[in-house]
């Protein structure tokens, strides 16, 4: 394992830089490569084994130190490359913290067990069956609470098992103590971490003797852990979640750079009051100020134009009616519950990507990439951490809950709940492709059309720069005429889902900063605080052009009575942003 070939990132085929381990399967990639391989719409699949993962990558400081010292020249070249790329995309990868008590060795190969100690404060010995967690900490697999260990005897107590299943079944605010919580920091994973085989092999090669920890010792540790778990489970049944968080904070680890203790210490104005006061309330209700009934909350989340389009369909009767009713039903379910998926938005705490359920957004982080937390991390008081993309978020920053908004992708998914998101993307891409993939005769015409619409867009963009007031209408017009060609590059699986709220609101996925993005981002900033202070949560700033085009495609097509593209969608865009 001392050959650089062994540490080649399977995605860029280069030496892994700032190595991140997919904790679901233990495969090692570059930080950015693992991020770029994620789908902004649904759980991602490991590029190698297709194991599902839902967390933004976190750099493993131990592997980072190892690669940096073992292959100094290549690693320095990779650093330069990556930094240039980061400059281009306008985002930063975090700088890993020191990973142990010993400074890095002076020369390659001079490794000592102290460089590879378990991060769990209760273990602190050479890693044995190492698992790299979603926070980047490396711990022995058996040091994890609720770990399944190697045999049936280590399955854990029934209480621990229930805790595991309940935290897996829902990410509700109540289950703050996850089963796969990192012993070093407080982050809890939603999936069981896997042993990182590459790191295990490395340790086996470097420290053949030390890594063979006596069986009896491991057995004793396991039993002690079980007893402890039992005690903890018994204790935690009566205690509130907040206390668990406090306990976690007390043994905080420098790895996550926790700056302040629990939420109670941060200014009260920072916390969206409804969530903090009634963590057990229904998710749909809890995202509304004043505890409005969920039905009404859902009503609000469907835009007026969408609602009227659905009503029109329902009035038509027959298959149209059935389709519209089914669609409305799933859309309401989607916005009312924890099912809502924030396409292209990731949690800077646990790294859930895309965020599902409640989403809290920082109003004050200046980075284009933004700072967001999922509901669970917000409830755990994780609003005071360094972001996953090096955002300089501080506890003084104001966090606001964001109101879910139905985008075209949500509609597509609601209309085809049985299809995986990846397949929907391909269907969409095929449907919108301006040049016919099939049939050569259509190709030429398609190209001409595309060219024409591109010219048109160019003209309209020029116009936009001059006339500010008509921006929305012109944008909508452009989307209507050349929607297909506009859409294609962004609809693919890949690092930037530029069409959806992520494009409107800079987020981890939308790190490529485009001009429109910056513009709407400013809009959001201007209106955000005002609206947020008034009612405790903020709306998505504006409807994107693409969204409008798709909404029309899905709902208005075939009705025949559709008004012109610019008038209809223009008003929609206006409505969404105000």
């Amino acid at each position: 394992m001392l050959d650089p070939e062994d540490w080649r990132c399977p995605t860029c085929l280069d030496l892994a830089y700032k190595p991140a381990v997919n904790s679901a399967c233990g495969h090692v990639f570059c930080f950015w490569c693992l991020h770029k391989a994620m789908s902004p719409y649904a759980p991602s699949a490991c590029p190698i084994c297709r194991a599902q993962y839902t967390n933004l990558p976190a750099i493993c400081p131990k592997l980072h130190q190892f690669l940096a010292c073992q292959f100094p020249e290549t690693y320095a070249a990779r650093r330069q490359e990556t930094e240039e790329e980061e400059e281009e995309i306008g985002a930063q990868s975090p700088e890993p913290q020191a990973s142990g008590p010993l400074p890095p060795p002076a020369a390659p190969g001079q490794w000592r067990p102290q460089h590879f100690l378990c991060d769990s404060p209760r273990c602190g010995r050479l890693l044995c069956r190492p698992a790299v967690l979603i926070c980047g900490h490396a711990v022995c697999r058996d040091c994890l609470p609720g770990s399944s260990g190697s045999g049936a005897s280590s399955q854990g107590t029934p209480a621990a098992a229930t805790a595991a299943s309940s935290s897996l079944a829902s990410s509700s605010p109540g289950s703050a103590r996850g089963a796969y919580e990192c012993p070093a920091c407080r982050l809890a994973a939603r999936q069981p971490p896997a042993v990182c085989k590459q790191l295990a092999d490395l340790l086996g090669e470097l420290f053949a003797e030390e890594s063979r920890r006596p069986e009896a010792e491991a057995q004793a540790a396991q039993e002690a852990r079980q007893a402890e778990e039992q005690a903890a489970a018994a204790a935690s049944t009566g205690t509130a979640a907040a206390q668990g968080v406090n306990a976690g904070a007390a043994k905080g680890h420098p790895g996550l750079a926790l700056q302040t203790p629990p939420p109670s210490a941060s200014p009260a104005g920072d916390q969206p009051e409804p969530q903090e006061q009634q963590p057990e309330a229904a998710p749909g209700g809890s995202s509304q100020p004043g505890g409005q009934p969920p039905a009404q909350a859902a009503q609000q989340s469907l835009s007026p134009s969408l609602t009227s389009a659905l009503r029109r369909r329902q009035a038509e009767g027959g298959a149209q009616q059935a389709m519209a009713e089914r669609l409305e039903q799933s859309l309401r379910r989607m916005t009312a519950g924890e099912e809502y998926v924030w396409h292209g938005v990731g949690c800077d705490g646990c790294g859930q990507y895309p965020i599902q359920g409640r989403r809290h957004k920082c109003l004050d982080c200046p980075e284009a990439i933004g700072f967001d937390l999922c509901g669970a991390c917000m409830d755990r008081g994780l609003s005071d951490i360094v972001g996953r993309f090096n955002q300089r978020h501080t506890p003084e920053h104001r966090m606001r809950s964001v109101r879910p908004r139905i985008t075209a992708m949500h509609m597509l998914k609601a209309a085809n709940p049985e299809l995986p998101m990846e397949q929907l993307m391909w269907l969409l891409e095929m449907a919108l492709a301006p040049e016919g993939e099939e049939g050569e005769e259509g190709e030429e015409a398609g190209q001409q059309q595309q060219q024409a619409s591109e010219e048109q867009q160019q003209q309209q963009q020029d116009g936009q720069q001059q006339g500010g007031q008509q921006q929305n209408d012109q944008q909508a017009g452009a989307a209507g005429d050349g929607g297909g060609s506009e859409l294609l590059p962004v609809l693919r699986r890949g690092p930037r889902p530029a069409y959806d709220p992520a494009a409107e609101e800079p987020s981890p996925a939308a790190y490529a900063s485009h001009q429109p993005q910056q513009r709407t981002g400013q809009q959001g900033r201007v209106q955000g605080p005002a609206g947020g202070e008034a009612e405790g949560l903020i709306d998505e700033p504006a409807v994107t052009e693409v969204h409008v085009a798709l909404e029309r495609l899905l709902l208005h097509s075939g009705t025949g009575s559709d008004s012109g593209p610019s008038s209809g969608s223009g008003s929609d865009a206006g409505g969404g942003s105000s």
């Binding site: 399977p10 995605t11 860029c12 993307m425 391909w426 099939e438 050569e440 030429e444 699986r493 890949g494």
Partner: protein, 195 residues
């Protein structure tokens, strides 16, 4: 963000080095984003002895999106369009993974040639024939292989036709011009532009 040049160049080097794999690749023009792959027809199939050219286009986001592949050489196969060479293969669509490479994709195409998937067809006519009468399908496929993919010069001609077609000329027109110019593409272009 531009394409990851380093990765593509590594992939090309890797294919060049591995002579045993039976697939080759070459860059088309100046950009590495347009390539032509070449694979041998698998043994004990109707495609045995044929050499098949595949047009490859890489998006800027490659390898995070699949490469666009399409057969240049005409193929009679349920999962390959007999009209335009479009390929129906899951790893070239939603099952693509950035850990796959051009080499593995070309090898997958080779595997596809030896094991057609008529349940998920690209060409309904071929698929129907495959399901209805296997012998007939194999005869047609063999004949197409002999006609379009067998002799080197024919394959070369096919690639040239494709190049001219991509410049905006009709297929028949390009073929006729190439024949008149004895297979010389520059000559054919002169004929086409002069006409």
């Amino acid at each position: 963000m531009p394409i990851d040049l380093g990765r593509v160049q590594k992939e090309i080097r890797d294919i060049d080095r591995d002579k045993a794999s039976g697939v080759t690749i070459e860059v088309q023009g100046n950009s590495v984003q347009k390539l032509i792959g070449c694979l041998k027809g698998p043994r004990d199939t109707p495609f045995d002895g044929g050499i098949f050219y595949v047009n490859i286009e890489l998006d800027d986001q490659y390898p995070f999106v699949p490469p666009k592949m399409r057969f240049i050489t005409k193929v009679w196969h349920p999962n390959i369009s007999s009209a335009n060479g479009a390929i129906c293969l899951d790893i070239l669509k939603d099952q693509w993974s950035p850990a796959l490479t051009l080499k593995t994709a070309l090898l997958s195409l080779q595997a596809l040639l030896s094991s057609p998937q008529p349940d998920d067809p690209q060409d309904a006519v071929v698929a129907r024939q495959y399901m209805g009468s296997l012998a007939e399908y194999e005869a047609t496929a063999r004949q197409w292989t002999q006609t379009y993919a067998h002799a080197q010069q024919v394959v070369g001609l096919e690639a040239k036709v494709q190049q001219i077609v991509e410049m905006g000329f009709g297929r028949e027109q390009a073929l006729a011009a190439l024949k008149r110019a004895n297979g010389d593409e520059n000559g054919a272009m002169e004929i086409l532009l002069g006409a």
